[in-house]
Symmetry: C2
Subunit: 366 residues, 2 copies
């Protein structure tokens, strides 16, 4: 056991407290990493505000990258000194979803994503004798983290961890939604609603896939500018004009693909009127799971479809190295996504800015 | 101009009248066929009862097969004596949908399917000086029909037209939904709600695709028996048990694919609870286009999707010969689907039986 600094959430809707907590050795099938950098994702914000629930106290943060310090028994694919990106699925390899090449839906993810624990249901963090949860089984708003080894993907040592950490969640969620879930075709048309870190990554995925028309819908002008920089061919300010009508004006028939990257029912439903016959609307954002989406039957008669995208339908062992490689080649732009580099003690301010819709991604650099 | 016998609908919810009408020569891009046989489809029933609308008077029937008697100017792929199946899309080849290999959504189909006319907006049938519409631009409840030539697919002369006529609509809609729209994978699990001609064809498509588990949901015992004969591995009587629960009992996680072949909102929505994470629900039936389908967000979070299937996503020049071939090989069973062979004058009785949920398919043999 050792002692580390971490941002700990004790009460929803209250600031996290940066304090010293203790961290255990990694157990079977786990690894201890020194966190080098962690992005701030909107899902952290949702937990912070109790929209997504977790037992508390908890260390948030799940978009982390670091260096392996110690591996637990049975871990053979990692060794101390390896550079790794933490991912959202432990990819158990044994459940029906992993066996059907859908590790993004790995059943073990329920433990890490819902329980915010390790795979055995316990945690490696303590504060004043109480167990502390780790968001998504990661908890990267801390100097160190013990993570299920299946959720740590090794990357080459020449890539900057304070950039590629974004691939851990937002970038894979977005790029994967375009490349894996939708399988966007060259020459096609796409509309992306919401240009946070995920939406901007979807735009990049659409560009990488060779889409001809990429329309970004976003009220914040700085994010619209960033969208153009990253691959959008058109932008729409939904506060100034009717986004659905404008998409129809640009594309006549509607787009081949639409992506919702906010997590609001009204914008999910709006996609149905934006896509053309045979078009595909992809739900990337995370609305309240108990809410309902209403879709007109006429859309189905024109062979439209709506599909959810979980973690960009990623196969991390395939996709993380692939996305790192796209970053290295300059095709996947991460630097532009990072609008602030902060220290752990600035984490609360950064989430306040996120709440105001400012910036794309803040990254804590340890 | 010549005179033929046809079943003419003058008023919704009244019997059709078998009477003599006149038929014109085929115009540019059209062909005159002698109808050999025509299936009775549920969409005819919907028009008969005003659920789907058409200008009247009209000759219904759109699941026809026959022999070409005369071709209009510009028709090069057909000649007198050719055996043909009439299909639901004129496959213009020029609209965006045809160019994107989705001729089942050909824009010209709006003229034939909604207007019930030829592609120039006029008709070739008259009664007492009035123009008579032809359902889907076909109108096969008549001894002869003029049809847009793109909607006539040539078949070998050795196949019985009074069987393969079913491929014109119901069989292609069903088999295509499984093979084209859903692209059912070998070893997968499927549930099909509703076992009329379309549902039974979906079951056959799932079997041909190599599905391991095929569950048929149908209240009529004779249709459930037919479902087992045609490839279902399990049946559920939705009047006797909760179909969703039973599907979960059989498959644990839910099925990979679900198909709704009735056209009811409640059963479309029911599919959402029958499919497993990553599963696909396909809307094959035709509910009221203005109604709304309500889907829980949680389904999207588990990467479920719902897609409409229009005419089995068929590419008729590819699929009709392929399905005829599957019939010839004994893999696609049409004879078992035909529960009654009738004359034109029995058409009203046959629709009354359909209204009572009896039998799979009646075929008019001329």
């Amino acid at each position: 056991m050792e002692h580390i600094q971490a941002a700990v959430l004790h009460q929803f809707n209250e600031p996290m407290r940066t304090e010293e907590i203790s961290i255990d050795e990694p157990h079977d099938g786990e690894a201890l990493i020194r966190v080098v950098a962690s992005g701030l994702c909107h899902s952290d914000y949702s937990v912070l505000h109790g929209i997504l629930r977790s037992e508390l106290p908890a260390v948030l943060g799940h978009e982390g990258a670091g260096i392996v310090e110690k591996v637990g028994p049975g871990v053979t694919h990692l060794k101390p000194g390896d550079h790794v990106i933490a991912v959202l699925t432990p990819s158990c390899g044994h459940c029906p979803m992993c066996q059907e090449e859908s590790p993004s839906l790995c059943f073990e993810t329920f433990k890490t994503m819902v329980g915010n624990t390790m795979l055995d249901g316990t945690n490696r963090l303590q504060l004043d004798g109480r167990s502390v949860r780790q968001l998504c089984g990661i908890g990267s708003f801390a100097q160190k983290a013990v993570v299920p080894a299946g959720a740590l993907i090794k990357v080459d040592k020449d890539v900057p961890l304070d950039k590629v950490c974004l691939i851990g969640c937002g970038v894979t969620t977005g790029v994967g939604a375009a490349l894996n879930t939708a399988q966007v075709k060259p020459g096609s048309s796409c509309v992306v609603i919401g240009c946070g870190g995920v939406g901007l990554s979807i735009i990049q995925g659409c560009r990488i896939a060779g889409a001809e028309t990429i329309i970004a819908v976003e009220p914040n002008v700085a994010k619209r500018d960033l969208a153009m920089e990253l691959g959008a061919t058109h932008t729409i300010d939904p506060k100034a004009e009717d986004a659905r009508k404008k998409v129809r004006e640009i594309t006549m028939l509607g787009t081949h693909y639409a992506f919702e990257a906010i997590g609001r029912i009204d914008t999910v439903e709006q996609m149905w009127g934006m896509i053309r016959p045979n078009g595909l609307a992809v739900v990337v954002g995370v609305p309240n799971p108990r809410d309902e989406v209403k879709l007109r039957v006429s859309g189905f008669l024109a062979q439209r479809s709506m599909k959810g995208s979980a973690y960009g339908s990623a196969v991390p062992t395939r996709d993380i190295p692939r996305f790192v490689d796209l970053y290295r080649k300059g095709e996947l732009k991460l630097d532009a996504l990072i609008t602030a580099r902060i220290g752990l003690e600035q984490v609360n301010e950064a989430f306040e800015a996120m709440g105001r819709g400012e910036g794309a991604r803040s990254v804590i650099v340890f």
